[in-house]
Point group: C2
Chain length 128, copies 2
Amino acid sequence: MTNRVRRTMPILPISIVMQLTDLTARQIRYYEEQKLISPARTNGNKRMFSLNDVDALIEIKDYLEQGLNVAGIRKLHETKETPRNDQAEPKTLSDAELRSLLREEMKHQARPFDKAFQRQGDLSRFFK
Amino acid sequence: MTNRVRRTMPILPISIVMQLTDLTARQIRYYEEQKLISPARTNGNKRMFSLNDVDALIEIKDYLEQGLNVAGIRKLHETKETPRNDQAEPKTLSDAELRSLLREEMKHQARPFDKAFQRQGDLSRFFK
DNA sequence: AAAATCATGTAAGAAAATCTAACATCAGTT
DNA sequence: AACTGATGTTAGATTTTCTTACATGATTTT
């Protein structure tokens, strides 16, 4: 379950998702408009994406490159989607609870200082 | 290496880090000012945090709650820090190369639609 | 006790990131 | 030639984040 929490938690702004997927903001918003993804929103209406969203976008891109169109991808999605008790599911966890849950977990997995503080040499070059 | 990439890649805006750590923006910026963390910056000068940063912040918070002060935590950090060849490391990969690397990896681990659209899996490696 | 220090709060003004809406483009289709 | 689908571009508004400066309460130092 914590795994689901991690992957569904909205933590990424659109700028990062653009980098991760190599899609433009326009494309990402369009796919949302076309109901291929449903990113969360901040109180201020900014989109915030989960890791699942990123996965989905990468697949969408892949399918498009293979020649499928948006309608086809949506159909695929609808069809293959396991009809789970999503909407019926009584939302038992509040956002705050989920966050706290994740925090607790990270805390327990916290590693010794040397590691935690280890230099960010690599991908910090994504920005400069 | 990819693991290090994932944990050091700056992907989180300060608002999300606040939620994940239960710290205020003021606190987070202060700890940076005090050299306890060094989050990356976007071209527009916005802080962007890695998972390692979040780990570090959680530890900092913990130490503070245990009565340590910032100077003590910094000392601890300096002392325990593994003196690696960080700055000496020849930067062989361009930004574009790194992005492409990460994307490729995500792509290859992408799973069939049904899975990708509903459940976690691959990207949860971003955590832990 | 007064002064200094530490960790944090708060406010102001500026800049960056994101939003929606509208119109443009360009390759395929009809 | 007109239409459609996917994406580009631009404009104006709103949100988010930034830095700087000053305020505050709790300790520590003088």
